[in-house]
């Protein structure tokens, strides 16, 4: 049985099913609320949901209850009554009081590489860390007080810290992506940060822009687990690969129908494998040629192959957001799952060779997490 947790514009949906066929919606939580991101920590089983209420601001909630025990709420009820649904609000998810900045959104939750270590990334380009499994968080002060911060510019979605690439077995090393403030690296557990932008080319700034340009619209980063110094990056125009832990990058998007897009996936077993879902262009954010295709590389980005068997190929104007693509397993049995803003969810159990419909007619899908 495979579980999908979907963050949608209208609540958190928990789906279950056997790979290959449609999944069933087992539970819906936070009805009516925008769930920007949801995931299950595989170590504890704890489920997280990040909610940006238009009235009450961004919050992180968590529950340890099995999905089967999530009761269907009678109607909109935010925050969910703890005594009824078991959801609790994580503490510490705020910026310093009395400052000039306010937290706008939590984009991503990522389990860390130490016991009970959990990260959260958000807007305005901020990182939180929890050392108690996600019940309480602390702001990473070094990144928050980074001297260049005053020059950071938001992308269209805000100044979002959306990618947190951990280093397997080493809690001190992280690569994070901020739109549009580039790649930042730490080797000391977040006590200090340095930029990792060499080689990234922003087509939206003059070609004589300074080499230390920070206004870099990184869309997604993932690390190759078997070769952690290798990362793949989807840029705002360009797909890149780093072989030196994110210090420098080289373009590997040649052969794609478009090198604009958001989602990215990697095969944990093969550092040469990665998957992207191109969109036509930044001004036309739908699947190229009105065909839904995932593109796969098996040679580190030297070449790309379309994988669309089972996906809609006619008049398919889909948009897939950066957090709406996830994977499970590895190798030939790599499971890939993605959701679209049009409310469709697709899956593959053979590394993208064949696809099936998981669900349709859902609210706009903002995030997908598979376990």
């Amino acid at each position: 049985m495979t579980e999908l947790l979907l963050g949608t514009r209208k609540g958190l949906l928990a789906l279950e099913g056997e790979p290959g066929g449609p999944f069933e919606v087992r539970a819906r939580a936070f009805p009516g609320e925008t769930i920007d991101y949801t995931t299950r920590d595989p170590r504890s089983g704890r489920v997280f949901a990040t909610v940006t209420s238009p009235f009450y601001g961004p919050k992180i909630f968590y529950t340890d209850l099995p999905v089967a025990d999530w009761p269907e709420p009678d109607g909109p009820s935010f925050p969910p009554p703890q005594e009824v649904e078991g959801w609790q609000q994580a503490s510490g998810v705020v910026l310093p009081e009395g400052g000039k900045l306010a937290l706008k959104r939590i984009w991503v939750i990522e389990p860390g590489e130490a016991d009970r270590l959990v990260y959260a990334g958000g807007d305005p380009g901020v990182l939180f860390a929890s050392r108690d499994g996600g019940a309480s968080f602390e702001l990473n002060q070094a990144l928050f007080t980074e001297p260049t911060r005053a020059g950071w510019q938001p992308g269209g979605g805000g100044l979002c810290l959306h990618s947190i690439a951990t280093w397997p077995g080493d809690p001190d090393r992280l690569a994070i992506g901020i739109s549009a403030a580039g790649v930042w690296l730490t080797e000391d557990g977040g006590r200090s940060w340095r930029q990792g932008n060499q080689g990234l080319i922003a087509r939206y700034v003059p070609d004589n822009a300074p080499e230390d340009q920070i206004a870099l619209c990184v869309h997604r980063i993932h690390r190759a687990a078997k070769r952690p110094e290798r990362l793949f990056l989807q840029f705002h125009g360009g797909v890149y690969r780093s072989d030196d832990a994110g210090s420098s990058w080289r373009a590997v998007g040649g052969g794609l129908p478009s090198d604009f897009g958001f989602p990215l996936a990697v095969d944990p077993a093969d550092p040469d494998s990665a998957y992207v879902i191109p969109l036509t262009a930044d001004l036309d954010r739908v699947t190229p040629g009105a065909r839904m295709r995932v593109y796969e590389t098996r040679d580190g980005g030297s070449s790309w192959s379309a994988r669309g068997d089972g996906l809609p190929q006619d008049h398919a104007y889909l948009t897939i957001l950066r957090e709406a693509f996830d994977w499970i397993g590895s190798g030939d049995q790599l499971g890939l799952y993605f959701g679209a803003t049009s409310g469709e969810v697709f899956g593959s159990t053979d590394a993208g060779a064949h696809w099936f419909s998981v669900a349709e007619r859902l609210p706009p899908v903002l995030s997908v997490s598979v376990s």
């Binding site: 514009r9 925008t34 238009p54 009235f55 009450y56 601001g57 919050k59 009820s77 935010f78 925050p79 009554p81 705020v94 910026l95 310093p96 009081e97 009395g98 400052g99 000039k100 900045l101 306010a102 937290l103």
Partner: protein, 87 residues
């Protein structure tokens, strides 16, 4: 003392009490004092900057007010989310 009136879900966060007597001379003071006595409300009405969240309206004696609006003894302060919709 002003009387602050809360609806769901703020009422639930404030120990399930809809009315709170708070001593303060302005709207922002009353909201800060309310957060202090009802810590579960922290971050729900005011953001980190101490500013009323943009889609929360505060009425004093039935009239839409702002953070600097002055309060007098017995004033009734209603904290109400703005109209929702659009997406």
């Amino acid at each position: 003392m002003a009387v602050v009136r809360l609806r769901e879900p703020l009422k639930r966060l404030a120990n399930n009490r809809s009315e709170h007597e708070v001593s303060a001379t302005t709207v922002i003071e009353v909201l800060r004092a309310l957060e202090a006595t009802e810590p579960a409300l922290s971050g729900w009405i005011l953001d980190e900057r101490g500013i009323v969240r943009p889609h929360i309206n505060v009425f004093v004696n039935g009239e839409l007010s702002n953070s600097a609006s002055a309060l007098e003894e017995g004033d009734r302060v209603d904290v109400i989310p703005a109209i929702s919709g659009g997406t």
